[in-house]
Subunit: 400 residues, 2 copies
């Protein structure tokens, strides 16, 4: 059992090719990407829980229900293809042209989109670019990881070569996301492939478990997009079909989760305007829901987020956010730690080394807040970013 | 039936005196205020729903349950007297000294506090200032309205002289609040007096109704404080005791509500760093809860708030916030208007005059967003502010 982490994305697979080019949807830079599978690949996906869904999400949800295999994933940035006039028609036309160009079935295309909501989709720009997209197919995961970005700055890419009981398999993945990041993954996209043979149901369970521990535990601004999608694909080239009771399956899920946590953390680090990578860890809640409620209340508090930006260990704002979360709590049992310094314990503020705590806030790019309710056995952790002038700048200027 | 609005606060009452001085709790400026009633006054109050409550709130809640009358309201800014070591003891000592100094019962003092959470309360600073506070008693509502401020810039003060069926009565009120403003009133304080004779129960119902339509419909940042308090007091000097079925009572509640809406709007206008006064009006929801959920989701969306700051009519962010609110909705029936321009109607983005809409966003200090779900009969409106660089500056720098 061992595992080597690299950052090659899908380039670790010989049967997966990628391509990314500029089609003109965005004002500058690459904006159209394709992941192509030489052979039919099984797949499973999770989507935004926003009741307003982009056309690609509506299309893919249907595809997941009816289709066993896909051969390609088309991704564009610059236009979310949501709440617009021609969205459904655009997808129809693109898929028709794409399946013809690549000689695959018209039900073998998965489609993901990100960008501005409500604008007409420039179908022709995409269909005109398909030939070029095909010509460029190769080991281009790095370029692809850049082409799917919107306001995020850095590509998010990982790959793993793992060995279990003599079987060597791979995981490769990319992600995008920097704003509108909250609860159930928001304007975030992630595409993950493996060559390990897994049934569709196993893919589904594995993805759900990994996403619950990673992408569903990050928050930049508490907003949630109409387009969020995480897709897991298997080329089924390696090993025998393994059942979910098998220890090999558990090993795979662990590795998949590691990949997803890495990408989720990269999203937070690249959070719009973020200067700090923060984590809130809630312990001892009555229920899982309560633990999660408190973590989200703290992570989404504008006052907590600005205090962290201001390098201020303002635990009063943390305690207020715990109090208004709606979760069951007893202030007389509450404990709060910032870094490893206890600031509040069993209803009382603590004497602590103020210089050390200020230093912790100032010198660390990574801030941890521990909240122990001491009333139950449920825990939850959430990664989040601070709220900064740069966030305001980015989001006050991002056009419509 | 007529009513004259002025901005004299409690100075319209001969039997109410006010005083505000500097005691040294804050680094500069007045920070201690007293409202003094010549005769016993009936009272009713609503408090924060935060589960972490300041010591003054815990004290006042008990007072409301057990006491018929008060003679004074003591207010300090600069220290919230919450989650600290000596809070309960501080209140005990202050009330003992205050009741002695002013020769009133020790159960006739209402106490409200605002400022930083978690710091030891400087009891001596307050008790040492009581004599000076007494000497200064007079018609000082303007000074008082300033002394209770923290990060807000402008005093919020109103008074009314109203006539109903030949009876002339008054309402006078002040408020504070600029940040941590959300759901059920946060770090906001408001003190309202009338001379109209009302039973304790009528005061309670009147206040609840007025607050539901005013202070509970504002949001600056979605945070909620540990200290929020709205207090309504009657000196019982005017008129006969009126029942809640009486039309005079309805008239009083309407006027009280007007006062509260005025103060609530002033809080939003003075919202930390705010450049725009915004209102979201939700119509046609299935339930009142859904209407409120959508209004809060839109008003608290960092992306909507920054778009308004950027003068950008980004309705995509509005629609996304409607979608993730959790409320029942059907995008195919949804209508959205910004100002009087329809941007989205029955599932489709609309052709509209972009120049006119941009001008509306740029030229107006007051922005209205209308959301019609077209699926039911429930409505809700909420006042909120935009999210700006100045907000970040204020809250990243506000010390602990």
């Amino acid at each position: 059992m061992n595992c080597k982490v690299t950052h090659e994305g899908f380039d670790v697979f010989d049967s997966i090719k990628t391509s990314a080019i500029r089609s003109g949807i965005k004002k500058k830079g690459d904006d159209l990407a394709l992941i192509f599978f030489e052979k039919k690949a099984t797949f499973a996906s999770v989507f935004t829980t926003n009741k307003v869904k982009a056309h690609c999400v509506l299309y893919d949800e249907e595809l997941c229900k009816t289709q066993e295999y896909i051969r390609s994933i088309l991704i564009n940035s610059g236009n979310a293809n949501a709440c617009n006039i021609n969205g459904a028609q655009a997808i129809k036309e693109i898929i028709k042209e794409l399946s013809r160009e690549f000689n695959i079935g018209d039900n073998e295309v998965f489609i993901a989109q990100t960008g501005i909501i409500g604008e007409e989709f420039p179908t022709k720009k995409v269909t005109n670019a398909l030939t070029k997209l095909k010509i460029n197919l190769g080991k281009n995961s790095q370029i692809l990881a850049r082409a799917i970005l919107t306001t995020d700055k850095n590509p998010k890419i990982i790959s793993m070569e793992c060995e279990y009981a003599g079987v060597i398999f791979h995981i490769g993945a990319v992600a995008k996301g920097a704003g509108m990041i909250q609860p159930n993954m928001a304007t975030m996209l992630s595409f993950i492939a493996t060559d390990l043979r897994l049934s569709k149901n196993s893919l589904k369970s594995a993805l759900k478990e990994a996403v619950d521990k990673s992408f569903n535990r990050i928050s930049v601004d508490g907003d949630m997009s109409t387009n969020d999608t995480v897709l897991l694909v298997s080329t089924n080239e390696i090993g025998e079909l393994i059942s979910e009771e098998n220890e090999f399956y558990r090993y795979f899920v662990d590795k998949l989760t590691e990949c997803c946590i890495y990408l989720a953390k990269e999203i937070i680090k690249d959070g719009e305007g973020a200067t700090k990578f923060c984590e809130v860890l809630v312990f001892g809640a009555n229920t899982d829901e309560d633990a999660q409620r408190i973590a989200r209340s703290v992570a989404n508090s504008q006052l907590v987020k600005t205090a962290i930006y201001g390098k201020d260990p303002n635990w009063g704002r943390i305690i207020a956010a715990v109090g208004y979360s709606g979760a069951n709590m007893d202030v007389e049992k509450l404990e709060i730690k910032i870094g490893d310094i206890t600031v509040f314990s069993w209803g009382k503020p603590q004497e602590f080394n103020k210089v050390a705590l200020l230093e912790y806030m100032r010198e660390n790019n990574s801030i941890k807040i521990y909240i122990n309710l001491n009333i139950g056995g449920s825990n939850f952790n959430l990664y989040f970013s601070d709220l900064t002038n740069e966030y305001i700048k980015i989001n006050a200027q991002y056009h419509t």
